[in-house]
Amino acid sequence: MTETISVRGLVKTFDATRALDGLNLSVKTGEVHGFLGPNGAGKSTTIRILLGLLHADAGTVQLLGGDPWRDATELHRRLAYVPGDVTLWPGLSGGEIIDLLLQVRGRVNTSRRDELIERFDLDPRTKGRAYSKGNRQKVALIAALASDAELLILDEPTSGLDPLMEIVFREVVREEQERNGRTVLLSSHILAEVEALCERVTIIRDGRTVDTGSLVEMRHLTRTSIRAELSRPADGLADLRGVHDLRIDGEIVHFDVEPGTLGATLRFLDSRGVRALTSSPPTLEELFLRHYATTCDSTPEAAR
């Protein structure tokens, strides 16, 4: 499988701050790749370098087989981009902006455009200044998804969408990938969204890649966080296979469990007289607190 995006040892410094500090990123052709990191980790800076808006200070960047800085115009014919914070021209309507963004890229598939406007429930005649944040994002998303670009770069595309629209977004991205084999780079700080769409993820923090791989390989990402109230002592819970990060707080236990051993763990809890149980996917914040805390604390930046 070939690489659509290949970034090695990327460094970018703004005045005194080192925004990117040796970042690596590899996106294979045809995959939906999750680009995860807390706010300020360097996701948007990386994307701006991939678009040739910023110049890399060091490292190598390859995008669709070209150099994003040198070959920007040719490469942009083959990609579509949705910024994290979409600003629209106040005097142009949503429909005009969508047409502009599609037409500068080439031929416009009008039926596809109209279908997406319908599915995302957008009023194309409203002026840019009158849209809410979510609707501004929809304008940029429709323009990107209606194009025939082989690569979609989406920077936190659902941060302003309501849950219903998020579902539409996931459906459309899945269709695009399955039907048209498009490659998608999806930056996010919401683990659940990445889990729902991506095969592989790259996790970054303080401008560095801390982990990368497929979701299946990164089992810690697919664990379930459990909080249970037991009537008998939880002796032996720590020895169960697949249980991690256990904390016992009187009758209440908190732990993470791997998907493969969830059944056995639940049977154990039953045998200890479980009275209350909540389970949830781990949030990115928890992952950073627990799983990546050690990885990061060893780096000088994270030590502060």
């Binding site: 629209l88 037409q103 770069i153």
Partner: protein, 536 residues
């Protein structure tokens, strides 16, 4: 709910926010008043000269209508108010209308009003505090002008009337803005409605006084202000009429304010088109985004060119100029022999004056590139094949053509109207058009310098480009005589444009040099832009 709840608090907030704005407007009004006194004292120092001037002005329909009314009198106080052309009224009106919109609709647009209204704040509080602040600013501007005029030795009663008329202008347009802020759904439209009313009423007033069709001036709110005629008729009853009108307008604003929802307006929000099949490529995007600016400029330049042509009809009648002034004109504006007359020099000075004003248009267009970059809108555009060099080149093309268009308009309107008013068509039309077009390359050079500044140091591009405009004007042939340097200095591009109107030979060399320099700077700008980091 108590209708006044929260008004005191919001007024204090508005006063706090006005601290950096209102004083400048007041200084501008008072300063312009004193400048007019100094102007009259310098140019019409004795009652005899003053009487001669009054006679000359009364003989010219375009000129005598300049300051309101259909004739002038040889009175020092009257002439200072008249000569300002009502600009003190205009300035105060603009200050008041902007303040009212700023503290009502603009706050509503940004959601600040919503935040405040969730507290113990009545729905009338924002409107009340905005009107109070605007009325106070107008009153202070009027009162200080009256005091300054009395201090300059003008009639105290006339000065007080003048000050009251200035304050009334602020009140009147402040209350029109209050109504507009209820009608429109956003601050931009509210401002546009009020400024349009102001512009039309100024033109109606001038047209009425110049044509003798008095009803034109009577239907214009600006006409009522001018009808006060300080230092001559001192019509205080007119001020009473104005106060009554203000009361009615304010009542209407409150009524509308009571009947609408927060954030809503009575005029529907204009909707855009659902598609834009023609919107492809950077030049068309630039035109679509900035055609409004060009249209406003074209209307403004057109109106002022008609006005300049009208005022210029006084030139052939001027007999009181000192004998050596013709030599100074030849020295200052260039001529090719002695065939030229005052009219030629007037028209050339007019073209140069317009050239300095038009130079602001390309500078604004270049500043919009920076605004696009900062807002993140350019980032959205540049995720497409419209990358930065093409994006900037599109804006430059529209700017260059727009600038040339404004010069063409100046030449056509000024030349045609002057010919029309002096019964000499097509006489000045072609020569004035040629003179105006020969200024285009110099304006393009200013564009190129601003663009290079934007490409090199986006953060300082705005002050640099304004400095270029001011530099060009201050060192130019128009401003030179103000500090006794006839002919300006060779450090600005318009210096090298030949005065073909006064018979100077046309030479392609300066134009080609200017064009080459422009191309070089633009190329440098595009290369620099290509190399730097792009974004916020």
């Amino acid at each position: 709910m108590n209708v006044l709840a929260g008004t005191r608090l919001l007024t204090r907030l508005a006063v706090r926010r006005e601290r950096t704005t209102a004083p400048w407007w007041i200084v501008a009004v008072v300063g312009l008043g004193l400048t007019m006194v100094a102007y009259i004292d310098r140019n019409m120092p004795t009652p005899g000269v003053l009487a001669t001037y009054a006679e000359t002005i009364n003989a010219n329909v375009f000129f005598r209508a300049l300051g309101g009314g259909t004739s002038v009198i040889a009175d020092r106080g009257f002439m200072t108010a008249w000569r300002s052309g009502g600009f003190l009224y205009l300035l105060t009106a603009i200050a008041a209308l902007l303040a009212v919109v700023r503290h009502t609709r603009a706050d509503e647009d940004t959601g600040r009003t919503e935040l405040l209204r969730s507290g113990v704040v009545s729905r009338f509080a924002a409107l009340t505090s905005a009107l109070l602040v605007a009325a106070t600013v107008s009153l202070v501007a009027g009162a200080l002008t009256a005091l300054a005029q009395i201090g300059a030795g003008l009639a105290p009663f006339g000065s007080l009337t003048y000050g009251a008329a200035i304050a009334a202008a602020g009140w009147l347009f402040g209350s029109i803005a209050a109504v507009a802020a209820q009608l429109a759904r956003n601050a931009r439209t509210a401002r546009a409605i009020t400024l349009f009313t102001l512009g039309i009423s100024y033109l109606l007033r001038y047209a009425g006084d110049a044509s003798g069709q008095a009803w034109l001036a009577y239907v214009s709110p600006m006409g009522w202000i001018h009808a006060v005629q300080p230092y001559r008729h001192d019509r205080w009853w007119m001020l009473a009429v104005l106060t009554g009108t203000v009361a009615v307008l304010v009542a209407v604003a409150y009524l509308l304010n009571d009947r609408r929802d927060l954030g809503e307006g009575l005029l529907p929000e204009r909707r855009g088109r659902a598609t834009a099949p023609g919107l492809r490529g950077p030049a068309r995007l630039s035109w679509r985004l900035h055609r409004g600016l060009f249209t406003k400029w074209a209307i403004g330049i057109g109106v002022f060119a008609v006005g300049a042509a009208g005022i210029g009809t006084i030139v052939p009648d001027v007999g009181a100029l000192p004998p050596d002034s013709f030599g100074l004109l030849q020295q200052g504006f260039g001529s090719g022999g002695n065939s030229a007359d005052y009219v030629d020099f007037f028209l050339w000075a007019g073209v140069l004056l317009f050239a300095h004003v038009i130079s602001i248009y390309p500078v604004l267009m270049i500043q919009r590139l920076r605004a696009e970059e900062r807002s993140g809108r350019a980032e959205l555009a540049q995720g497409t094949p419209m990358t930065r060099v093409r994006w900037a080149a599109g804006q430059l093309a529209v700017t260059a053509l727009g600038t040339a268009g404004l010069f063409t308009l100046t030449g056509l309107v000024l030349g045609f109207c002057y010919g029309l008013f002096t019964d000499d068509l097509p006489g000045p039309l072609v020569p004035v058009l040629i003179a105006a077009l020969s200024c285009v390359p110099a304006a393009w050079l200013i564009t190129a310098v601003s663009f290079l500044a934007y490409a090199l140091t986006p953060r300082f591009a705005m002050p640099i480009s304004w400095a270029v405009v001011v530099w060009t004007a201050v060192l130019g042939k128009i401003a030179g005589p103000l500090y006794n340097v006839w002919g300006g200095t060779p450090f600005e591009p318009f210096h090298y444009v030949p005065n073909t109107l006064a018979g100077q030979p046309f030479s392609p060399f300066p134009i080609l040099t200017t064009l080459a320099l422009t191309a070089l700077l633009l190329l440098g700008g595009l290369t620099t832009l290509r190399r730097r980091d792009f974004g916020r």
